[in-house]
Amino acid sequence: MFNQIKDLAGGEIYLVTSLLMFMLFFVIVGVYLFKLSKNHIKTMSEIPFQDHKTKPYEED
């Protein structure tokens, strides 16, 4: 199936780099998520409510 990759001069580097970029991406996101502080998460998830003063017409 991968016949044509034999013709790819230096193709191995191309493939290995692609794979490494892919791995690296998830490692970075993973590490970042692991290090996130709880406070920050709380603040961020409450942003949509900061303007929220319940007005009469909003009460269902």
Binding site: N3, F25, L36, H40, P48, Y57
Partner: protein, 713 residues
């Protein structure tokens, strides 16, 4: 620091909302019309301007870019202002954006029925409109980033990341898929040909789904759903992971639209692998949405907006599970080119996009009018008739898809095709098409009821055009309160431009990895010596094939299955398409594949078939094309078309543009003479002659080939 007073622009939100309603009704009505033509071709009203091939693109463009497009802008303009605590950057830009977008849609409504099309699916609009789209998109970008810059909130909430990713990626997709060489005012040829054109188109097509129908809607979900439920999003961490992995992985999955074609095998496999991976971030979003409603399910029973949101998220979950499954080669082999794909798309479109839009409209319109919804009962009715509409649409389409896909592949015990006549498989599923249009009618009825309900709401109150708000301004220099606050994402959340560049890099990686080898490595598209450029008449015929939108029902790529080589002939090779600007492989077989149709029938058969398809194939649902006999072929364009092709690297001899029309006339005379022998009197200068010439050429070059064609699988 003093509290600043400012206002939110609600007028622009309202305007985009009204446009969503109006274009929604128009786009869905056209959809219903094309659906009915699939069991009653006479529903084209005998006019070329309302025939399936020309107005199917009108339906797709109208629902995607007009209905969903306006809904996106409505949702973005409402939530962006509130999340950033700032009015939109410029009211003038907002207005230019609004009217510019409506004019672009209007130009599509005019040009597509006239037959001006590039033939690339969901990118059919010709080059002048492409330029207009680019300009208006830039206006939207400036307005959005201007607002972000003058914001009064440090951090960019997750919804805004989705908006930024949408803006950047759609810009890249649109530009790369619009590299066209203009031939005249409303005609152009793509720079890419054949396999490469196919790869670019489906990289675009797939990611238009990702970044026009998905990311902006996820952004809106992350703002509106917590607002409706009155509680924050279930997991903000999950939203970060979901965002980055979604935009990173989505961009690679395009080649799953080209499985078993002559696209290099490695690119197909890459597309499949990434499609499977896509389940994770897609379901991350769905789960995050549904779990936001934890503890609020009692509200779902009461609140119709939440009902719409729940069905939307469920449909999103189903469609994003089904998509990866469809990308598995074994399943794709049966499903591709059938109604299964139409069902899949509509679960996403009617369920996810449609219902999320309705939910937001019902929530947002009363708020910007400071009133209550006119009738909750009618909204409840809309919910149920809409849900029924989706079921009546999707189930028959799945049924039709399975049936047709299996019939195409069925062999008798003797090893012959059980249904050698393609038409038998079409006629089998006609009842399903009738049911589907009933589903569509129900869904459309719901939208009309909603429009009435919202119109009554709007007419009964006054728009709060400028809604007062107040917030603290941002200090000029942001000083981190603690050193730990320097985590890169937190910094990034405050630096929109860096955020945009990073998203851009992330989305470019996948596209580049897939496209670069296909474009730069010769052996990826093995050439075939016997494949020659089209004659002048065939080239004109090909452009008529494009104008009539034949590609909407007929594919031009024979897959390497015995069921296909038995039915159509030799499977398609990459080298056969090197002069095809654009490629015309298609994505749906309402009629049979045409790649090997050349030489299969006589000229007279084609003539009779085009004028009255049922005369040659009783029961056929192909519309008649009588105007092809009445209309004269415009040969003034031949020279410029030949020159354009030469610029694109098609090896016509030097100065051939001047001689082309002579050759064209000779070939046309020959076909007219052949028709005359069969008692068909037609002038050689008619369009039908050119299209017959093209059809007779299709897939024939390879027959003269004496050498082995290297496989690229």
């Amino acid at each position: 620091m003093q509290l600043e007073k400012f206002t939110y622009d609600n007028r622009i939100v309202r305007n985009f909302g009204i446009a969503t309603l109006v274009w929604g009704i128009i786009g869905m009505t056209v959809g219903l019309l094309v659906a009915m033509q699939l069991f009653k071709p006479a529903m084209n009203m005998g006019s070329q301007y309302t025939t399936f091939g020309r107005i199917r693109p009108l339906h797709t463009n109208a629902v995607i870019f007009a209905f969903v497009g306006n809904a996106i802008f409505m949702g973005v303009y409402y939530s962006l202002q509130r999340l950033l605590k700032a009015r939109m950057f410029s009211d003038t830009l907002s207005k230019i954006h609004f009217w510019g977008w409506q004019l672009i849609i209007l130009s599509a409504v005019i040009t597509l029925p006239l037959g001006f099309t590039t033939s690339h699916e969901y990118a059919e609009l010709e080059w002048p409109i492409d330029i207009a789209i680019t300009l208006i998109w830039v206006v939207f970008g400036i307005n959005m980033f201007g607002t972000i810059i003058k914001r009064r909130e440090h951090h960019l909430y997750v919804a805004i990341w989705f908006y930024i990713a949408t803006f950047v990626t759609i810009a890249v997709l649109h530009i790369v898929n619009s590299f066209e060489l203009p031939v005249s005012f409303m005609k152009s040829y793509y720079l890419y040909a054949g396999v490469q054109d196919a790869l670019v188109q489906w990289w675009y097509g797939h990611n238009a789904v990702a970044f026009f129908l998905t990311t902006p809607y996820l952004g809106m979900m992350y703002y509106f759903l917590p607002k409706m439920a009155g509680r924050p999003v279930y997991s903000y961490k999950l939203s970060i992971l979901h965002f980055w992995s979604l935009i990173f992985i989505y961009i690679w999955a395009g080649p799953h639209h080209l499985l078993y074609t002559s696209l290099p095998g490695w690119a197909q496999s890459l597309g499949v692998a990434f499609s499977i991976m896509l389940i994770a971030p897609s379901w991350g979003g769905m789960i995050n949405g549904l779990l936001t409603l934890r503890g609020a399910w009692d509200k779902v029973r009461e609140d119709v907006t939440l009902k719409f949101m729940v069905v939307a998220l469920t449909a999103y979950g189903m469609a994003t599970f089904e998509g990866p499954m469809l990308s598995l080669k074994q399943i794709n082999g049966v499903a591709h080119f059938t109604d299964w794909i139409v069902a899949h798309v509509h679960v996403g479109a009617l369920g996810w996009n449609g219902f999320l839009t309705f939910g937001i409209l019902y929530w947002l319109i009363p708020r910007i009018y400071k009133t209550e919804l006119y009738s909750k009962k009618l909204a409840g009715f809309h919910f149920w008739i809409g849900t029924l509409g989706i079921l009546f649409y999707a189930i028959p389409m799945y049924w039709a898809g399975f049936t047709q896909g299996l019939m195409w592949k069925e062999f008798t015990a003797e090893g012959l095709l059980k249904y050698p006549n393609f038409l038998a498989t079409t006629l089998q599923i006609i009842p399903m098409h009738v049911l589907r249009s009933i589903g569509g009618t129900l869904y459309l009825a719901g939208v009309i009821v909603m429009t009435y309900n919202l119109a009554k709401t709007m007419l009964g109150a006054k728009l709060v055009a400028n809604e007062a708000a107040e917030a603290m301004p941002l200090p000029k220099i942001v000083v981190d309160s603690s050193p730990a606050d320097k985590a890169w994402h937190r910094v990034l959340e405050r630096k929109p431009m860096k955020f945009m560049v990073l998203s851009l890099i992330i989305i470019l990686i996948g596209g580049m990895v897939e496209m670069m080898p296909t474009f730069t490595i010769q052996s990826n598209v093995p050439t075939i010596a016997s494949v020659k450029p089209y004659t002048a008449l065939e080239l004109q015929g090909r452009d008529l094939y494009i104008r009539e939108g034949c590609v909407n029902c007929h594919s031009q790529t024979v897959r390497p299955f015995r069921s296909e080589t038995e039915r159509y002939g030799e499977y398609s090779k990459a080298g056969e398409f090197v002069y095809d600007h654009p490629f015309l492989w298609g994505s749906k077989r309402t009629g049979p594949d045409l790649h090997r149709v050349g030489g299969k029938y006589s000229d007279a058969w084609h003539y009779n078939h085009l004028v009255d398809p049922t005369s040659m194939s009783p029961g056929s649902i192909m519309p008649p094309y009588p105007w092809l006999i009445e209309q004269k072929l415009d040969i003034n364009t031949t020279a410029s078309k030949i020159r354009a092709m030469q610029t694109l690297g098609v090896p016509y001899p030097e100065g051939y543009d001047k001689q082309a029309n002579e050759d064209l006339k000779i070939q046309a005379e020959k076909i007219a003479a052949d028709l005359k022998q069969n008692n068909i009197k037609v002038k050689s200068d008619r369009e039908i002659v050119a299209i017959i010439a093209y059809l007779q050429r299709l897939g024939t070059d390879i027959k003269a080939n004496k050498e082995t064609i290297p496989s690229n699988q």
